[in-house]
Symmetry: C2
C-alpha cells in the first residue's frame, strides 16, 4: 500500500546502448489542479497495445532479473537494427498503461472534480501502471455504484475499438464486416455487439478451438483459415453477408490480400458486365494489430476499388463529434457487465508484472489469456 503523497509507477526505458530496463519508480503525486482528480488505480489491464511500449522490440529471451522483491528490475537486449526507429524514446524513461479504473481519492476545487470524490471511475491516457494517476475530471468515466475496479478496468481500449469498427462500417457505407483473430477478447466483444445490433459479422480464426469459442457465444459465421477450403468458405460468407470492410489484427502475411480477393470474387458473382478494372464495389481492410510482424503481401487480384490502411482508436475518436463519442462511452457503461465484460487470467501487483514467469505468460499474447495489474494490491 502507499501514501497518497507518492506512489510507485512502472517505467520502461530503452537506453541508447540498446538495453531495455523495466523498473518501478516512486513518483510524488502531483497536486491536482481545479479540474483534476487523483485516482488510486486498482485495476489496469495488460493489453496487446500496451506491450509495444512496455517491452518495445526487446528480445525477452535475453532478459535478466535483478533488484529486490519490492523493487525488481528487468533488463533485456534490443536488437541494434531497430534502435533508429526508437530514436524519439531513447534514454527517456516512459510510463506505461493505457487504461484502468480506481477510486477518486483527492479532487480539485471545481464542482465537476469535487462531484467525483470517492467515486469509482475509469480512465485512459497512459501511465496507468501507477498507484496514483492525476486525470482531468472531464476525461474520466464515472462508473455505476457497485462496479468493481476489475469490472471497470477495460472500459476503453477493447469496448471502444470494437464499437469503432461497427461505427466505421456504417460511416463508410458498408453493410457487414469481417474480423480476424476473431476469438480474441476484443473479437468476442465484437460478436456480442453485432449479435445485439443485428450486424452480420464474418469471423476469421486460425484453429478449430477458436471456432468453438466463438460458436459457443453465438457467432453465426466463422471461417477457419487453417482449413483447406478457407478461401471458398470465406468467399461464400462474404457473398452471403455482403461484407466489404474488414478489421485485421494480424497485419503480416497474405490474409489482408486474401480477404480483398474473396470480397472481389463475391462482388463479381453478381456482376452484370465485364470490367477490366474489376468490380466498382469499394473493398477495405483496416490493419489495427500486428500479431504477425512480417510484411503485408497484397496479390492485387481485386480490381482497383480497394484500400488497406492502419486503424487506431485515438484518431478515430478525435474525428467523432463530441456527442457521438459520449454516446459510445455511455453504451460501454450501460453494458459493462454484459456486452463489454472482460475476463482476466490473473490479478497481479506491479512487482509481479516484472516477474520472469508472468512476463513470459503475457508476452505470449495467447487468445483468452489476459492479465490485470492492481498497482495497489496489498
Amino acid at each position: 500500500m502507499s501514501d497518497i503523497q507518492s506512489g510507485l509507477q512502472l517505467r520502461s526505458l530503452v537506453k541508447k546502448s540498446g538495453e531495455l530496463e523495466l523498473s518501478l519508480q516512486r513518483i510524488p503525486t502531483p497536486e491536482p489542479g481545479p479540474d483534476d482528480v487523483v485516482v488510486r488505480v486498482e485495476a489496469t489491464p495488460i493489453n496487446p497495445s500496451d506491450l509495444g511500449l512496455l517491452l518495445g522490440p526487446a528480445n525477452m529471451a535475453t532478459a535478466k532479473y535483478s533488484g529486490t522483491k519490492d523493487s525488481p528490475v528487468v533488463t533485456a537486449k534490443v536488437p541494434e537494427q531497430v534502435l533508429p526507429g526508437l530514436a524519439a524514446r531513447l534514454d527517456e524513461s516512459m510510463p506505461v498503461g493505457n487504461e484502468g479504473a480506481g477510486v477518486v481519492v483527492k479532487a480539485g476545487s471545481s464542482p465537476q472534480a469535487q462531484a467525483l470524490m470517492g467515486k469509482m471511475v475509469a480512465g485512459i491516457g497512459g501511465a496507468m501502471y501507477s498507484q496514483y494517476r492525476v486525470l482531468k475530471a472531464r476525461d474520466v468515466l464515472p462508473l455505476p455504484a457497485g462496479t468493481t475496479a476489475a469490472e471497470g478496468a477495460s472500459c476503453f481500449v477493447n469496448p471502444l475499438t470494437s464499437l469503432a469498427m461497427t461505427v466505421t462500417m456504417k460511416k463508410e457505407g458498408h453493410k457487414a464486416l469481417v474480423h480476424t483473430a476473431a476469438a480474441s477478447n476484443l473479437g468476442q466483444m465484437l460478436n456480442k455487439i453485432c449479435l445485439k445490433d443485428g450486424i452480420e459479422l464474418v469471423n476469421i480464426v486460425r484453429s478449430a478451438e477458436q471456432e468453438k469459442i466463438l460458436r459457443g457465444i453465438g457467432a453465426k459465421v466463422v471461417c477457419n483459415s487453417a482449413s483447406p477450403t478457407f478461401l471458398q468458405d470465406l468467399t461464400k460468407a462474404l457473398a452471403a453477408t455482403g461484407a466489404t470492410i474488414a478489421f485485421d489484427a494480424i497485419g503480416g502475411g497474405k490474409l489482408a490480400g486474401q480477404i480483398l480477393s474473396c470480397m472481389e470474387a463475391a462482388a463479381n458473382m453478381t456482376a452484370k458486365s465485364y470490367s477490366r478494372y474489376g468490380s466498382t464495389v469499394h473493398k477495405q481492410v483496416y490493419i489495427y494489430g500486428r500479431l504477425d510482424l512480417g510484411p503485408t503481401e497484397l496479390g492485387r487480384d481485386f480490381g482497383m476499388a480497394w484500400g488497406v490502411g492502419g486503424f487506431l482508436l485515438t484518431p478515430f475518436l478525435m474525428k467523432l463529434k463530441p456527442e457521438e463519442a459520449q454516446a459510445l462511452r455511455q453504451r460501454v457503461v450501460d453494458e459493462l457487465k454484459t456486452t463489454f465484460a472482460s475476463h482476466y487470467t490473473k490479478e497481479i501487483s506491479l512487482q509481479e508484472a516484472l516477474q520472469a514467469d508472468i512476463i513470459a505468460a503475457y508476452n505470449k499474447r495467447a487468445t483468452g489469456e489476459k492479465y490485470l495489474i492492481n498497482p495497489n494490491k496489498a
Copy 2:
C-alpha cells in the same frame, strides 16, 4: 476509307476455350438520337490502360497471325489459371479504345448536337478503335479551330489522370506529391502541371536515362530507385518537400512500402515526442498502374497513420462536382499544345494495330514509346 453507313471496329474476344482473338468487324453505324453525334475517329492512342482489355492476360509469345491484309486476325493463348477471373468477358466480343478525337460527320436534331456538326471533338468512353463512334453531344469536348485529331486524341486519360493527382493531393490535405515511373508520358505531363502550379513533386525513376529526360523538362526533384542511396535520397526529398501522398504506376514489389517508410522517417525527423504508434501524419500511396504484376509488399514500419489503395480516373471524376470536372476539361483544352501535348512514335491504321511487329512494340510499354491509331487512315 469507309462509308458513314458502316465502319470497321477492332474487337477483342477471349473464348471459353482459352483463346484470345483480335479482329476487325464491320459494324453498321447506329442512327444518332436527338442528342447524339457521329464522330469519324481519326486519332486514338494505345494507352497502357487499353492493353488490359485489348490483349487481356494472353501470352503474346504464342500469337498466330492469319486473315487477310485488310482483315487480319490475331490469336493467342490465355493461361488457363486466369480464365476464372475473366468469366464476365468470356465469349463476348469486346470493342476497345478509351479515348480519341475526330470530326462530327452527322448530328442528332437537338441544337446542342447540331452545333457540333463539322467540328473536331475529343471523346472518351470505350470503342474508340472504330471508324465511327456515336457519342452523346454533352460528353464530347469541342476542340479549338486548328486543332488536329492527333493533337486532340489524348485529351482525357493522361491529362485528367495527372490533374486528378494534384486535385486529390489538395482535397486530401497534402502539400506535395510523389510519382513513380515518373518519366512516362503521364509523368512528364504531371511535371509540367506541377511546375506551372508551383506544386513540389518528387519523381521516382528507375534509370539514369529517365532521370535525364525529367531533368531536361525542368523537374527539380528526381530519385533513382536503382541508386544504392535511393532510400536516403528519397527520405531527404520527402523531408524537404513535405510530400505525404504518392501515386504509383508500378504496383508490385516493395516500392509502395518503401515510400511509406521514407515518409514516416521524414515525419519523425521533426517529431517532438515518441509515439509507439508512429507519427500522426497520414501517409498515402495510391496504386494506379501495374507495371509490376507481382504482389505489393508492405513492410509496415511506418506507424498506423497510413493507407494504400487503388486509384482510377472514372470514379474520381464521378465524385467531383460538375463544375469541378468541367474546369479540369477546360484546362486541358486551353493547354492542349503546351502542358498536355502528347508525342507519338508512329501513326498506324487499324490493320497495322494487329501486325506482329507493331503489337510487339506497343506491348513493351516502354517509356516514351506510344502508338496512335487512325482508324480512317487511307
